[in-house]
C-alpha cells in the first residue's frame, strides 16, 4: 500500500469509533429555499449504523500525490502573468471534536476568480475568465493539522435560484480525516460580507453558531506586508473514542 510520509497513529489508536454526527447543526437534506434540494433530498429517514471496519477506515494520501505548486493558486495556473484580484492567504488547522490536530490529511479547495467566474465549461456567467487563474488547489496538513494556501479573493456571483440570488464570496473545501465517515465538503465565507445573511445555501444551516463557524475572520497577523492579506479558517472533523469496550469492531 501507498503510505504518506507523515506519522500516522498506530492501528489501536486509529480504530476507535467516531462520535455520532450531530445532524441538528448540519443542513437537513430538504431546504426548499435552496430549490435544487427539493428534488434531491431523500424522503425516508437515514438508517443509523454503529461503526464497523468499513466506517473507521479511510483512504490515505502522501506528498507523492501532490505537485509542488498545488497550494498556490497565484502560480499554479499562471500562463503569462499572475491572476487579477485581492491577494490573500487562507490558513488554519484541521481539528477533530476533541481538539486534536488531524495530521497528514488531504484538504482540497476550489473557487471562482476575482470577478465571480468559475473555470468550468458549465459556467456561463458574463464576467470574464482570468487567463492566469485556474481556481483549485490542494494540500496535506502538517503534523499539527495545519494547512495554508495562497489565492485571490473570489468575487460574488449570481445563480438561478430566486430571480436575484447572489452567492457571497466563498471558497469550497473538501476534507478527509482518517475515517471515511469524516468526509466533509463545506464552504468558507469571508468576515463582513453583506451577502451572507441573504444566501439560501448558507441559511440551510439551522444552527447559528454552526453557520458562523463557516465565516473566516480577517487575520492581519498572518498577512504578508505589502503582498497579501490573510484569513483564518479552522475546520473541525468528527472526533473518535480511543477506548473500545465490549463491542468489538472486528470478528476476533
Amino acid at each position: 500500500m501507498k503510505q504518506g510520509e507523515i506519522h500516522r497513529p498506530n492501528a489501536r489508536e486509529a480504530s476507535g469509533e467516531f462520535f455520532q454526527r450531530d445532524r441538528r447543526i448540519h443542513p437537513p437534506a430538504y431546504t426548499p429555499n435552496y430549490k435544487t434540494s427539493v428534488g434531491r433530498s431523500p424522503r425516508y429517514a437515514l438508517l443509523s449504523l454503529q461503526n464497523s471496519l468499513s466506517e473507521v477506515t479511510g483512504p490515505t494520501f502522501g506528498h507523492s500525490d501532490l505537485g509542488p505548486l498545488d497550494n498556490d493558486l497565484i502560480l499554479n495556473y499562471a500562463q503569462d502573468g499572475e491572476p487579477v484580484g485581492e491577494r490573500i492567504i487562507v490558513h488554519g488547522r484541521v481539528l477533530d471534536e476533541t481538539g486534536r490536530g488531524v495530521p497528514g490529511t488531504l484538504v482540497e479547495f476550489w473557487q471562482a476568480n476575482a470577478g465571480g467566474r468559475y473555470r468550468h465549461k458549465k459556467d456561463m456567467y458574463l464576467a470574464p475568465i482570468d487567463p492566469n487563474f485556474g481556481g483549485c488547489g490542494r494540500t496535506l496538513t502538517d503534523e499539527n493539522g495545519y494547512y495554508y494556501f495562497r489565492t485571490v479573493k473570489p468575487g460574488a456571483y449570481p445563480w438561478r435560484n430566486w430571480v436575484n440570488n447572489w452567492r457571497p464570496a466563498h471558497i469550497h473545501f473538501s476534507v478527509f480525516g482518517p475515517g471515511f465517515v469524516q468526509r466533509l465538503i463545506t464552504q468558507m465565507y469571508f468576515e463582513g460580507d453583506p451577502l451572507i445573511p441573504h444566501c439560501p445555501i448558507l441559511a440551510s444551516i439551522p444552527d447559528a453558531e454552526a453557520l458562523e463557524g463557516l465565516i473566516a475572520p480577517l487575520d492581519l497577523n498572518a498577512a504578508v506586508p505589502l503582498d497579501s492579506l490573510a484569513y483564518k479558517f479552522d475546520i473541525v472533523l468528527r472526533g473518535r473514542r480511543s477506548t473500545l469496550f465490549e463491542n468489538r469492531l472486528e470478528g476476533n
Binding site: 449504523l49 461503526n51 468499513s54 483512504p59 500525490d65 475546520i235 468528527r238
Partner: protein, 208 residues
C-alpha cells in the same frame, strides 16, 4: 454547574455545488492543472481478485438523471482488507491498491461507471461477517450533506442474507435498493447500480 465538556462541534456541511469538478476533477471541468488527478484508479494493476465494472445513474425525485453528481468509493481488497492504518491487516494489501476512487457522471447522460476489483467479505462487529460491499459517498448541487450508502452484489445472495447491515433495514422490500445486478458484457462482469435520491424505489441512505 457541572464542568464543561469542551468538545468542539463538527464544521457544518455545505453543498458541493455544480462546479465541484473544478476542485475534485478539473479535467472534467475543462482544464488541466494537476500533474495527477486523485481517485482515478481504485485497485491498481497488482490487485488480486475479479476485475469488475460498476455502472449506474443517480436519479432525482422526478426520475430525471442527476448529471452533475460526484461519487466517492471506499472498499476493501479481494481479501476483505482495507488499506488504512485502522485495519490491523493493512500491511497485507497489494502495493498500489488505494481502495478509494472518485467518479463523476457524464454531463450529457448522467451515467457513471468505474473499474475496480470485487471486494471480499469483511469482519463486522461482534463476529458477524459483512457481505462484500462498496461504501459510497454522494455529493452534488442540491445535496446539502453528502449521502452515504453501500453497494452489495446480487451474486452474493447467501452472504447478503446474513449481512448485519442489510438485515437492519426494517422494510425488507427496501434492501434490494442496495444490491447491484450482475451481467456479463464482452466477457467482463458489469454490475448495474442505480441510485434513487427520492420517491419510488428510494435508495437506503445511512447515518454512519
Amino acid at each position: 454547574m457541572p464542568q464543561p465538556l469542551n468538545y468542539l462541534k463538527e464544521t457544518a456541511s455545505q453543498t458541493a455545488g455544480p462546479y465541484v469538478h473544478i476542485g475534485l476533477a478539473p479535467g472534467a471541468a475543462g482544464f488541466k492543472i494537476f500533474e495527477q488527478e486523485l481517485g482515478t484508479d481504485i485497485a491498481g494493476p497488482n490487485a488480486e481478485g475479479e476485475r469488475i465494472r460498476v455502472e449506474g445513474t443517480v436519479f432525482d425525485g422526478a426520475g430525471a438523471p442527476v448529471k452533475d453528481v460526484l461519487i466517492e468509493v471506499w472498499q476493501a481488497n479481494a481479501a476483505g482488507i482495507y488499506p488504512s492504518p485502522a485495519d490491523l491487516r493493512a500491511d497485507q494489501v497489494e502495493e498500489g491498491f488505494r481502495g478509494w476512487g472518485r467518479i463523476i457522471s457524464d454531463f450529457d447522460t448522467g451515467l457513471f461507471s468505474f473499474d475496480t476489483v470485487k471486494p471480499g467479505g469483511i469482519a463486522g462487529r461482534n463476529s458477524r461477517r459483512m457481505a462484500p460491499h462498496l461504501n459510497l459517498w454522494i455529493v452534488a448541487r442540491g445535496i446539502n450533506i453528502g449521502l452515504n450508502t453501500r453497494m452489495y452484489f446480487d451474486d452474493e445472495a447467501e452472504a447478503n442474507a446474513k449481512d448485519p447491515v442489510l438485515n437492519l433495514i426494517e422494510q425488507a422490500n427496501r434492501r434490494g435498493t442496495l444490491i447491484a445486478t450482475r451481467e456479463m458484457r464482452d466477457g467482463k462482469p458489469v454490475y448495474r447500480f442505480d441510485i434513487r435520491l427520492q420517491g419510488e424505489g428510494e435508495t437506503v441512505f445511512l447515518d454512519i
